[in-house]
Subunit: 348 residues, 2 copies
């Protein structure tokens, strides 16, 4: 089969690799229908973090189950499934707490020795604890639903998790710092899933702001730094916002979040802080802030989100603004790195 391979910063290639086979009785083999490129894939592509040359890429995919191991009881061949970006047994203490991204038997697609999502076929460990089948199966799942279902494998659930970590709920006022796919998805999650009343999106890109409005942002602040913080305070009687979603991970983004949080407020952070190793405590202390971080446990949210997508309640797939064949994956990385694409979908 064909699969995307990381060669070096700036270099991604599609190569022939062996077809995966069942290794553990809990495995499933899934033929990928759609995959995509993640903002987190860009960290290595940009040279910010190291990644082994020759490693597989991609951790977001939807597909059709071709084969299951002897111990797989729920997922069946023929199921149309959404995969979270990490696998999990969904039975260990962390999973039972809803933190499947800390499963004791978990792992990330694309890590050493595993298949990546950006390929034709994927061996999925812990299939029953990982995959969520779309109700109605293939017959009910037309290509028009593919983008929305694919978005659930990471960004839609990660954005929602940021909003959940921020404590947002029905009636809340929420601010979202970050207008990438995760930030935009946080807007959607806060409004359409959690029922927030007001969502302020920080976005200096008109096209992203427009999608943010479609996703339910009630206000857009087109300014960053202190100017952006001042604008958010102006929108909130000077008090700031109780629930802030950090969806970038940079020091500038964190400064904005802390600056715009209302006294006693909460910051839910899903931006990976590669460039923000430490956070100053005194500003948090002075403002009585709560900070929650975590790699989104997508599996926790998948059943509810799949149902919402299948019923047409939400369409998180609108974050995809570029679709390429898998063979052109390299163009997709470049487009996202140059911010010409919010998020790129791949067709194997």
């Amino acid at each position: 089969m064909r699969a995307a391979i990381y060669q070096a910063a700036g270099t991604v290639e599609v190569r022939d690799v062996p077809d995966p086979v069942i290794v553990e009785p809990t495995d499933a083999i899934v033929r990928v229908v759609r995959a995509c490129i993640c903002g987190s894939d860009l960290w290595a592509y940009r040279g910010v973090i190291d990644r082994p040359a020759g490693s597989r890429l991609g951790h977001e995919f939807i597909g059709i189950v071709e084969e299951v191991g002897a111990a797989v009881a729920v997922i069946r061949p023929g199921d149309f499934v959404v995969a979270p970006f990490q696998w999990s047994d969904n039975t260990c203490p962390a999973c039972r707490d809803g933190i499947q991204t800390r499963c004791v038997n978990g792992g990330t697609f694309g890590a050493a020795g595993t298949d990546g999502g950006q390929g034709e076929i994927v061996r999925v460990p812990q299939a029953d604890g990982t995959l969520v089948a779309v109700p109605g199966g293939q017959a009910a799942t037309g290509p028009d639903l593919y983008p929305a279902l694919l978005a659930l494998s990471d960004v839609a659930a990660t954005g929602l998790h940021g909003a959940v970590l921020s404590g947002a709920r029905a009636g809340s006022t929420v601010a979202v710092v970050g207008d990438g796919a995760v930030g935009l998805s946080a807007v959607l999650g806060a409004r359409a899933v959690l029922g927030a009343e007001r969502v302020i999106l920080i976005s200096t890109h008109e096209d992203r702001a427009a999608l943010g409005r479609d996703f339910g942002a009630t206000d857009v602040v087109a300014a960053r730094g202190e100017e952006g913080v001042a604008a958010v305070r102006d929108l909130t009687q000077g008090l700031g916002v109780r629930h802030v979603v950090e969806a970038v991970g940079t020091p500038d983004s964190w400064d904005m979040c802390v600056g715009m949080a209302r006294v006693g407020g909460s910051i839910g952070a899903v931006g990976v802080p590669h460039t923000t190793p430490q956070l100053a405590l005194f500003p948090l202390l002075r403002a009585h802030l709560t900070v929650s971080l975590g790699i989104a446990p997508v599996r926790r949210y998948l059943p509810g989100l799949v149902a919402r997508v299948a019923s047409g309640w939400i369409d998180p797939g609108r974050v995809f603004d570029l679709t390429l064949p898998l063979e052109q994956v390299s163009d997709g990385y470049l487009a996202m790195a140059q911010r010409r694409s919010i998020k790129t979908m791949l067709v194997p």
Copy 2:
């Protein structure tokens, strides 16, 4: 009147100062019945932070109201009152959110231009929003209740706040890092106020551990650092603790808290992080932790705590293990700095 004055690191003296008078119509004049020395007073005494020479000291006191301004409607002359360590109007947005320590009209006793608690008489700004009268007044408030009521002015409420920030509630398992008066009070608050089922106190001092047990600690870990973390994990099937109270503020204490927190857990921090300006984000991200900080809004908790003390439900005053006349305040600072006293009470 006589009042304690900060002269320099290691030097505290009692001097004659002018009797306070009503300045604002919202003021009250309170004759101090008991005051005490705070762990936070020791930061300057030890030279860790600067404090202006000549400034008043102390922010914890109970007393009897002698006079009130024309705009004071609830507090009356003759009331026996508990003062939180900061005053507040109790009506601004922050106060209505229960964060009276960010009151727009608030301030701390002992700050420049104000009276300190370690003196004979105190002018209390925003008397109605600040002071809480003991039901039954002087007649119902014998000297046996003084230590418990005095403890409410800071440590009992601060410890409780740490437990609240950690998310502890009925049935919780809680760990408390810090066996000073605040940490011990967190044990009491977690158990007797919030209803936690299990409280693990980290304490390497036998006398403090004994008081912690009396306050409701179900387990004591007499080890610090990685050894202490390992011991807490041993007590919790290797999983760690969902609710951790940070009551020290040092890097070692923070490391312990992060190390012993269960995946998805919460750290409620009330230790002032003078020596921990920054906190590493990746360990929080990896463990899906929530961190909440804040200078305890004592006023929020006072009515409930005063009622609990008056009814004999709790006795937080046992943190006082040394009582001195105000004139010997300097001996009290030295005793606390040398850890010969957990907390020293002063009699004006």
